[in-house]
């Protein structure tokens, strides 16, 4: 039922910071995570886009880097923070392993690990460093989460789908607690060249911080990024029994497929409209009640136009919209989770994050874009995502009650 699942902990490693609150503070200060690619030489690798939002792992993480893929290490680090933030200690009696599950998405899994291996002798750890369910699995192993184990891999909607999956496990009672999130480390030559070839990436190489510009008329593609986020979702009753104050409530989720084309969504945005309407119905929330939208807003010409079309169809009067990828870049399957963290923080603090670089509004993206950080009464917020394959996800959060 709507209202039965609450958020009690947040964790994130993003291009803006090594924790959820560091990332939030940088976001609210309009600090960009974008810069030249340093992980390898993009010119040598024949990339057209030479820019990215790179994340930095803390010096110490709960796992050994050479034993897990980078994307799994990012997820475990974010989960460690989220569990502590929720006031949990996996050694406590409150932590009933069989009732704690994981739902951690990744669009691609360990692509850099695949590329590193192509010329080499194959390590016995190779497969378990790249499989796209291994972030979810490593979190379950490190923290003893032996309940339902899920790993959405629905491209750039996967992070939001992971929230939806986790919410359903808690609603059904198949878990009391779910570690829900997404993780991606895509910064390798093929990771970038693949999107480059599709003309999906910005080539504003001389101005990395100005390259991601959702809904701006001069946008030319997304800035690729890496990172992870994990939220602790918990049944309201379980949180109350622990004496924990929730950060936000997960009210409902929706998903849909366009069923048209792998990369080109339909002009009328029917699939995304259906998805958002399903989320609002599931949450039992009237569209007029939505106060803020954390949009998918990747900064691609067609994607942003498609999303604006959907929002204007769902809402008689579209609420304020933020594209946080303007500062974090696009972390693919992690983005829906990172933006769910930002949405929970928006509700917690009553502050709307900014959209950077929105300088020339695009008439084809006629939505009210939040360009400066601002305080606001926010009771209901929507997080939207869409991915290649024509897959859509939306999740509705409300403030703690």
């Amino acid at each position: 039922m709507a209202g039965d699942v609450v958020v009690t902990g947040l964790g994130a490693v993003t291009p803006l910071g090594t924790t959820a609150d560091e990332s939030w503070d940088a976001l609210m200060a309009t600090e960009s995570g974008a810069g030249p690619i340093t992980r390898f030489d993009p010119a040598d690798a024949n990339c057209r886009s030479h820019i990215a939002c790179e994340a930095t792992l803390p010096d110490e993480t709960p796992v050994e880097s050479d034993r897990v893929g980078r994307y799994a290490e990012l997820a475990v680090t974010a989960a460690d923070e989220a569990i502590a933030d929720a006031g949990f200690d996996p050694a406590d009696p409150d932590w009933v392993s069989a009732q704690v599950g994981t739902s951690i998405a990744s669009s691609i899994g360990g692509l850099p690990e695949v590329e590193d291996t192509i010329e080499d002798r194959v390590s016995p750890r190779f497969v378990v460093r790249y499989l796209s369910n291994l972030a979810s699995s490593q979190v379950s192993i490190v923290f003893g989460a032996e309940g339902p184990n899920r790993a959405a891999s629905t491209a750039c909607a996967a992070g939001v789908h992971a929230m939806a999956d986790a919410m359903r496990e808690v609603r059904r009672g198949t878990a009391d607690v779910m570690l829900a999130g997404g993780s991606e480390s895509i910064l390798s030559p093929h990771g970038i060249r693949g999107f480059d070839a599709m003309r999906a990436l910005s080539t504003r190489n001389d101005q990395p911080e100005r390259a991601s510009r959702p809904f701006d008329a001069d946008r030319d593609g997304f800035v690729i990024a890496e990172g992870a986020a994990v939220l602790v979702l918990e049944s309201r009753a379980h949180a109350e029994n622990r004496g924990v104050t929730p950060i936000a409530t997960v009210e409902g989720a929706g998903r849909s497929a366009d069923g048209v084309h792998p990369t080109r969504p339909p002009d009328d945005a029917d699939g995304l409209v259906r998805c958002i309407e399903r989320a609002l119905t599931d949450a039992d929330v009237d569209p007029d009640a939505v106060d803020h939208v954390n949009a998918h807003a990747t900064s691609t010409p067609r994607g942003d136009q498609h999303e604006a079309t959907a929002l204007n169809r769902v809402f008689d009067e579209c609420p304020p919209v933020t594209g946080t990828k303007s500062l974090t870049g696009h972390t693919l399957g992690a983005s829906g989770a990172i933006e769910s963290v930002f949405t929970a923080q928006t509700l917690r603090d009553g502050r709307l994050p900014p959209t950077a670089n929105h300088e020339t509004p695009d008439p084809d993206c006629d939505v009210p874009v939040v360009t400066e950080p601002q305080t606001a009464d926010v009771d209901v917020a929507l997080n939207v995502a869409a991915g290649f394959g024509g897959t859509n996800g939306a999740v509705v959060f409300t403030g703690a009650k």
Partner: protein, 82 residues
């Protein structure tokens, strides 16, 4: 130079879309019935043009192209510009 580039473009279209070169001409609409190219086909053609002729087409450039002739003219003008 221009005719060579035009020939190469015809060959790229033929190879990528699996149609005989005699099956289309400059008036043929790229997304029309004869070629039936969809968006990723067109980007594949653009990538092949970049690889073989060194002319990069942006998404905006691609969206402005209607016919095979439009594509040839654009590439020819870019090559002249160089």
């Amino acid at each position: 130079m221009q005719s060579t580039a035009a020939d190469q473009i015809e060959s790229i279209i033929s190879n990528r879309l699996h149609v005989e070169e005699s099956g289309f001409d400059d008036e043929t609409v790229i997304t029309g019935e004869k070629l039936d190219a969809e968006s990723l086909d067109i980007v594949e053609i653009a990538e092949a043009i970049d690889g073989e002729l060194g002319v990069y087409l942006t998404v905006d450039d691609i969206e402005e192209m209607q016919t095979v002739g439009d594509l040839k003219s654009f590439v020819a003008s870019e090559l002249e510009g160089n």
